[in-house]
């Protein structure tokens, strides 16, 4: 925007408002704008990242084993289902809705997949496809009840939460769980990441190169096109810094997971090598990039934010609000199905209480801790990633830290407190942002 000096015309009384400033092009301006945004309540994932660092350092100091090679890989695989579930919840939360049934929906889909593979000898890929489609259908049902029948999502999904649990119970049957056979489900088991089903070392480096290179390329392309269009863009130094940080952290990650982390090194296990990145990391990266693209670069994504911000305004702007509302529940349940498949592959079985308990709460907690607002309109896919890591670190670290009868109890209490803290952050930043003063 070409801001002219306010000399022409009689200066209207409100020229004071803000001096025209080419804000973000300089490094200083960029920093200032960031600070201003944070003050305005747009903290993004910053608190989650800071919290993650603090937690990791804390657990590391208290218990050096926390940062052992084995545990790092463990952490990532533990976080994966939570992160994927949270990604779906970000869509729903963006609209200011809630999906309490996402956890048990993942149970329904995982149980269906397992039953199909084990009892009906279905090929694993058909079973996976069936599970994902089932997730989408369940989501459509929930979304339809919310958008068309106008039942509050809290009630719809609470009902779904209960009945889905029943469906899982019915599917699994008396046995209490369905075990996935290694052979029939080999490619699914690949996702588990405990045994030898890990990415080859070279592929890890290729993945890092593709991700970091792609990131830099996209940023560069945006910057060049914005500059040629005469628009202000992120300072080059910031872009470079972000890319370098990503490369360094990624390289450490790939290198560390490339080391042999087999715990037993005796004569019997001598040949056992556990090295490489769990495949699920690739899945996480694909989902993160793909979903972020959808939310931030497509009309659909823009409309999701718009409906979450002001559904009446969206309706007037010609956005089909009901469709958007249904679609987010479809996305959420679909991703819940994916999370269920991943978790089932890690557990190598589906128990009758799969996806129940605190599965959903951890995922909601992850999204909110990451910076997604419970009030709608604010949130990103990366929130789910950071938040999911925080939750996984707490679970993992607490589990090892406190032994004895009450360890589970403490784990829940601390997770609950962290969630409360995050929601408090959310509410406070909303107040600062002025969204409450309507």
């Amino acid at each position: 925007m070409s801001t002219q000096p306010a000399t022409e015309n009689k200066p209207s009384p409100v020229q004071d408002a803000v001096p025209p400033a080419k804000a973000a092009t300089t490094l200083l301006g960029y920093g200032r704008e960031r600070v201003e945004r944070a003050r305005g309540g747009e903290m993004g994932s910053l608190p989650a990242v800071a919290g993650l660092i603090v937690l990791v350092v804390f657990f590391w100091i208290v218990q050096p084993g926390f940062l052992s090679l084995y545990n790092i890989a463990n952490l990532v695989t533990q976080a994966a289902p939570i992160i994927i579930l949270a990604m779906g919840l970000v869509f729903v939360l963006l609209l200011g809705e809630i999906d309490l049934s996402a956890g048990t929906a993942s149970g329904v889909c995982a149980a269906l997949m397992a039953v199909m593979i084990v009892r009906h000898n279905m090929a694993w890929y058909f079973a996976v496809l069936l599970a994902v489609i089932t997730g989408a259908v369940l989501g459509f049902l929930i979304g339809w009840l919310r958008a068309k029948a106008r039942i509050p999502s809290f009630v719809v999904t609470l009902a779904a939460f209960l009945s889905f649990q029943g469906i899982v119970l019915m599917q699994v049957g008396k046995a209490g769980s369905v075990s996935l056979p290694d052979q029939a489900a080999k490619p699914i088991i690949t996702l588990e990441g405990y045994n030898n089903n890990l990415m080859p070392l070279w592929l890890g480096w290729v993945m890092l190169a593709v991700v970091a290179g792609g990131y830099a390329l996209v940023k560069l392309r945006i910057a060049v096109s914005r500059r040629s269009a005469g628009l202000e863009s992120e300072p080059t130094l910031v872009t470079v810094a972000k890319t370098v940080a990503m490369v360094i952290l990624g390289a450490i990650f790939v290198y560390v997971l490339g080391e042999n982390r087999a715990i037993q090194q005796n004569a019997f296990f001598n040949n056992l090598k556990i090295e490489g990145i769990p495949w699920v990391v690739l899945l996480l990266i694909v989902l993160t990039v793909g979903l972020t693209f959808i939310l931030s670069r497509t009309r659909y994504g823009r409309h999701v934010y718009a409906v979450g911000g002001n559904d009446e305004a969206s309706r007037r702007a010609g956005i089909r609000v009901d469709r958007i509302r249904i679609s987010v529940f479809v996305v959420c349940s679909l991703l819940a199905a994916v999370a269920g498949i991943v978790q089932a592959s890690q557990l190598e079985s589906v128990a009758s209480n799969f996806g129940a308990g605190n599965t959903l709460l951890l995922a909601v907690g992850a999204a909110v801790i990451g910076g997604t607002s419970l009030f709608g309109g604010r949130g990103r896919i990366m929130d789910a990633v950071w938040g999911g890591l925080v939750v996984a670190v707490i679970q993992n670290g607490m589990g090892d830290l406190i032994k004895g009868a009450n360890s589970q109890a403490w784990q829940w209490i601390v997770t609950g407190l962290v969630l409360l803290l995050a929601a408090g952050f959310d509410a406070a930043s909303r107040r600062v942002g002025g969204a409450d003063s309507r």
């Binding site: 973000a24 269009a229 823009r302 010609g318």
Partner: protein, 329 residues
């Protein structure tokens, strides 16, 4: 004001043919006959103020124009041709945009995203064409001489009331619109920001749009309007040139539906002295005899009304209405 208001010489209505013309519009909701044979015109390059008390039918009329409601009967002419408007999209495709009082902005989106809401530009691979959108938004805002926003990528939640109003108005002119309807644009603003928005309203008209301004605020109307259409209990009380009426007369039209020779209901039966204002007769919906009430009574009413208006410009004072009606009878 583009024109000086030195004389009472009637100005020929805008640029001749009105761009928007409604004739004998009727609209009922069940048994309630909200609009009764309402006439309305808007001209290119003019600000037409639509005034009237609560329940006079302003909102209904605007919603009929904007396609939210479809009319029961009557003629809807756009650029001289009869059109059917049953849907907000019909109105939008004609080039009619409404800026609602509650602005319809998404606070969590930035200025550019709001201005293109629902009509986002996409480039290859169906991705949002942010650069084009930002450039167009910037051009529109600077074309309207808006210099108060710092960055087009600011979230609307960080803007002041006046800035939000500015964004909402700029959004409406982004689409080569021909008629822009502003519903109470200054209702929630302070003095300085009101001045700013009114300046913007004036510029819209100067840029060749037909602007329809709904307002309760007499000062706004007097300051910025070229023509004034007064509704009274679902009927068109008068369509007059701003230059031809005083504040007192407008307030009378709003509160009583008539003022002197103008208006709907004949006052007390006087001697019918015709009055010299030819143009008033021309634009007024005078039903039959348009008689002046006794001079003394008239002045008294005028004073009372003026005082009221002065006291509570911009707010709705039902007491005032009652008082005026009482005095008129």
């Amino acid at each position: 004001m583009t024109e000086t208001t030195t004389s009472v010489t009637p100005r020929t209505t805008g640029s001749g043919e009105p761009i928007l013309k409604l004739r004998a519009i009727n609209k009922s909701f069940g048994p309630v006959h909200v609009l009764q044979d309402v006439d309305f015109e808007a001209h290119v390059g003019e600000v037409t103020a639509l005034v009237g008390d609560n329940g006079a039918g302003k909102s209904t009329l605007v919603k009929c124009i904007g396609g939210t409601y479809s009319i029961d009967s009557g003629e809807y002419l756009f650029e001289g041709a009869p059109v059917k408007v049953h849907d907000p999209r019909d109105a939008a495709s004609l080039g009619i945009e409404i800026v609602y009082q509650d602005l319809a902005l998404c606070e969590n989106l930035d200025i550019v995203a709001n201005m293109f809401l629902g009509r986002e530009r996409v480039s290859g691979w169906r991705t949002l064409d942010e650069n084009t959108m930002e450039r167009m938004a910037g051009e529109t805002l600077s074309g309207l001489s808006v210099r108060t926003v710092k960055s087009l990528r600011q979230q609307v939640s960080s803007l002041s009331g006046g800035q939000r109003q500015t964004v909402a108005i700029a959004k409406s002119v982004l689409w080569n619109s021909k008629v822009v309807i502003l519903d109470e644009p200054t209702a929630a603003l302070g003095v300085a920001q009101t001045a700013q928005v009114l300046e913007l309203v004036r510029r819209l008209a100067d840029r060749g749009l037909a602007v329809i301004l709904i307002s309760h605020n007499m000062r706004d109307v007097l300051e910025v309007a070229d023509r004034i259409v007064a509704l009274y209990l679902g009927k068109t009380a008068a369509q007059v040139q701003r230059a031809d009426v005083t504040q007192t007369q407008i307030v009378e039209l709003i509160t009583a539906g008539h003022s002197g020779t103008m208006g709907l209901v004949p006052a007390t039966n006087g001697n019918g002295n015709g009055n010299g204002n030819g143009n008033v007769a021309q634009v007024v919906e005078a039903l039959g005899i348009a008689d002046e009430p006794a001079a003394a009574a008239d002045t008294a009413v005028a004073d009372a009304v003026a005082a009221d208006a002065e006291a509570a410009a911009g707010t709705e004072e039902t007491d005032g209405t009652d008082g005026v009606q009482g005095a008129a009878e």
